[in-house]
Amino acid sequence: MIRNVLSEIGGVGLYGIVSICLFFLVFTGALAWTLLQRRSLMADMGGLPLADGEVRKPSEGESRHE
């Protein structure tokens, strides 16, 4: 009885294959999309945290916490 249950779930082998295929598609998709982006856009995007639009007083330096 136990063997029936654990081995006879219809097409269980498919789940593993489907999941690997889905991952492969997503991964290659993300890779391709990323590589196709312009270098300048990637540089702009990477620089976003450093340009937060804050209006700071000039006296405030980067070494405040040092």
Binding site: I9, F23, P49, V55
Partner: protein, 720 residues
């Protein structure tokens, strides 16, 4: 170009920062008390409310949801506004988020010591609190999405992607895993039973680690690390691949918590393969973080922000190398149920989450209060005590885990267990428990110093409630196709599209894993001898849940000879069809209890619960004398039987009105009689201990009859 002037809200960041510091000390303090109880059980002060079983979930919830949760919101509320160049969508929602979340934590701090728990790890809170969590999470998600829609910055920085994935995934996980039927104001039964409950729980449990402790903090790393290093992330392209690969893999990895259990083999293999693959994106992210510091390593020596950050990212790398290793079935067969797991999670919690939070606090507080850090020296003390604390915590736990795992499996040349007495393997590692408490103390002392330093910094500065900022308004892209209707423009917005994609990604993983388990529901191997619990056993099982016994005792015997020799026949899926919730456990500080029914006389259990050392000299289990004096709450029985029937346990209609009570009294009378024969003559029949004994004596007995004839191993092989 036209620019707009606006203000970032710093008050909400301050509120979350203060809450983070307070809950950090509380959560770590609870952890230290729990750690001390493992070598000195009297440290519970004879109070049931702070005994290990109830204290452990309090510690895990306080650290995960209170300390790390508030820290996460602190970082998100600060960075999201600046990355979007917009104030939060709604100040009201921000404050609902803050007060609601912290009220939930207070509710947890009250209910968990009182024993109101579902027993499902990291989802222990009972149903009214579950509802509140859902509402507050919706408030946070609406606030997040609203801010994205009103943003001035056209591009969504990668950190925001991680925040979005966190918001949607935690919502899905929490709702699916918390489906339960109430049986009273603070009592419920999981909708799922046994194997299904285990799979849903660990799909949740693992992804709580993934999407609450990891993805938001990766987002925060991608924001605060470039800020602190004052240079952009090493590779923005790598961060995008990191994101998609990570969220798509993480969601499948849950079953690695259930290797060699009664979970079907295909689900175990799926969990293992995806867990091993996870090492690639995780290390991609770690290297991306560390390489961001190229050319700035000299500053790491001086700047506490960078110091904490570098250790945090390194700890992330170590934990994400170890996680896949532990997911390999052969490694897991040794590590599971031991302190190795405890070491693993603490490298993540203390190193990755803790140090990330301290790094953010040391960066944020001087900026928000417009001053300099009170003392660099104290920050260095904090850093080194924290680092030593992690070492002193992790190394003894690795030692303890591997030692005990090997001892459990050790046979004599004649083929008998070398250490048949479980307690012997515990006593061997008690010195490691003492060392671990020293490690935890060092870390906590460091934290207290950090809190003091940050508080002094706050007091010497002047808090800036709002920061003025300027940015150009966002211009709609001319090339974007505009069909009729505002809904289409809404869909076109990348934030929404992106959220949909991320949701689809995580739902696919969950569905492929969980849906088949539902489809086979009718096929779960119902052993004909497995019957629903009797009324007295139901109440006894609820006491087992209330006292958090599952924190130290598993009910899942793996199919190894070392386990079947020690505990009896290994566990089958069909044995758990009436277990709402499942109580398989994940740690064996004490022995497995799956086949404990009938192993000892009733009087042994009575004496053992009153004082475990009277029956097991040297035991580190705490005494439970209150079970002998507190009255069993039989008034709760009708509601509990009715709720269990609603989740699928086949009690006959009307059973709870009359018959159940009579059955309960009759069974209690037989236990009292049995206790008398064991020289315990003064035990009243209406005490909690009677219910607990009934439950313990039932454990595994149904299957014993069904499995009396050994089944050939080949016939049980799930994949012949």
């Amino acid at each position: 170009m036209k620019t707009e002037t606006f203000r970032y809200d710093n008050r909400i960041v301050r509120a979350f920062a203060i809450a983070t510091m307070i809950w950090g000390v509380v959560g770590m303090g609870a952890g230290l008390l729990a750690a001390v109880q493992l070598f000195w059980p009297e440290a519970n002060l004879s109070l049931q409310f702070v005994t290990f079983g109830r204290l452990r979930p309090l510690h895990t919830n306080a650290v995960i949801f209170a300390f790390v949760g508030n820290g996460m919101f602190m970082g998100i509320y600060y960075s999201l506004q600046r990355l979007c160049k917009a104030r939060m969508f709604s100040d009201a929602l921000s404050w609902i988020n803050f007060w609601g979340w912290n009220a939930i934590i207070v509710a947890a701090a009250i209910t968990l010591p009182l024993g109101f728990t579902t027993s499902k790890e990291y989802a222990e809170l009972e149903w009214p609190i579950d509802l509140a969590i859902t509402l507050i999470w919706v408030a946070f998600t609406v606030n997040l999405m609203g801010t994205l829609l009103k943003r001035r910055e056209k591009h969504l920085y990668v950190a925001i992607w991680f925040y979005i994935a966190t918001a949607v995934t935690v919502a899905v996980l929490h709702i699916v895993n918390s489906l339960e039927i109430p049986a009273g104001p603070f009592k419920s039964y999981s909708l799922y039973a046994g194997v299904q409950d285990a799979l849903v729980q660990w799909w949740y449990g693992h992804n709580a680690v993934a999407f609450f402790l990891t993805t938001p903090f990766l987002g925060l790393m991608y924001y605060f690390l470039p800020k602190a290093a004052n240079r952009p992330v090493f590779s923005y392209r790598l961060s995008i691949i990191h994101f998609w690969a990570l969220i798509f893999l993480y969601i499948w990895a849950g079953p690695h918590h259930l290797l060699y259990t009664a979970l079907p083999d295909w689900a175990q293999s799926l969990g293992m393969v995806f867990s091993v693959m996870l090492v690639a994106p995780s290390w991609g992210g770690m290297l991306n973080g560390l390489l961001t510091l190229r050319g700035a390593w000299d500053r790491v020596r001086q700047d506490p922000v960078l110091k904490f950050m570098v250790v945090a990212v390194t700890a992330y790398g170590m934990a994400t190398l170890e996680g896949p290793a532990l997911s390999i079935k052969s490694v897991n067969s040794l590590s599971h149920y031991t302190d190795w797991t405890i070491a693993h999670v603490h490298v993540g919690a203390l190193g990755w989450n803790g140090f990330m939070i301290f790094s953010m606090l040391y960066w944020l507080v001087p900026r928000l209060w417009n001053t300099e850090l009170h003392s660099l020296k104290l920050a260095n003390w904090h850093f080194w005590l924290g680092l030593l604390g992690i070492m002193f915590y992790a190394v003894p736990m690795y030692w303890a885990g591997i030692t005990q795992g090997l001892m459990w499996k050790q046979f004599t040349p004649d083929g008998f267990l070398q250490y048949p007495n479980f307690l012997e393997t515990v006593l061997q590692i008690v010195p490691m428990y003492r060392l671990r408490a020293i490690g935890g103390s060092l870390y906590l002392i460091g934290t207290v110093i950090g809190v003091y330093n940050l508080t002094r910094t706050m007091r010497r500065g002047a808090f800036e409630p709002e920061t003025e900022a300027q940015a150009a308004p966002r211009v709609e892209e001319e090339s974007a196709p505009r069909l009729a209707g505002h809904w289409h423009r809404w869909i076109e917005s990348k934030a929404v599209l992106f959220t949909l994609l991320a949701t689809v990604a995580i739902l696919i993983g969950g569905a492929v894993e969980i849906v088949p388990m539902y489809l086979i529901r009718s096929n779960v191997p119902t052993l004909s001898s497995v019957k629903p619990y009797t009324p007295l056993e139901v109440l006894g099982r609820d006491l087992y849940i209330r006292e958090g016994c599952v924190g130290c005792h598993s009910q899942m015997i793996r199919p190894f000879r070392s386990e079947t020799e020690r505990y009896g026949e290994y566990s089958k899926a069909g044995e758990y069809v009436f277990d709402h919730p499942f109580l398989w456990g994940s740690k064996r500080t004490g022995p497995d209890l799956q086949r404990v029914g009938g192993k000892y006389p009733d009087a042994w259990h009575y004496n053992h619960m009153e004082d475990p050392r009277s029956t097991s000299p040297g035991s580190i289990m705490p005494p439970y004398p209150w079970l002998l004096t507190q009255r069993l709450d039989t008034n709760a029985l009708p509601a509990r039987i009715a709720a269990l029937r609603r989740v699928g346990v086949p009690y006959p209609p009307g059973f709870e009105h009359g018959d159940a009570q009579k059955q309960l009294e009759a069974q209690a009378a037989t236990i009292i009689e049995s206790l008398r024969q064991g020289s315990i003559t003064n035990a009243p029949a209406d005490r909690e201990i009677i219910g607990l004994i009934a439950y313990l004596q039932r454990l595994g007995t149904d299957a014993k009859t069904a499995l009396a004839t050994p089944i050939p191993a080949i016939a049980l092989n799930p994949n012949p």
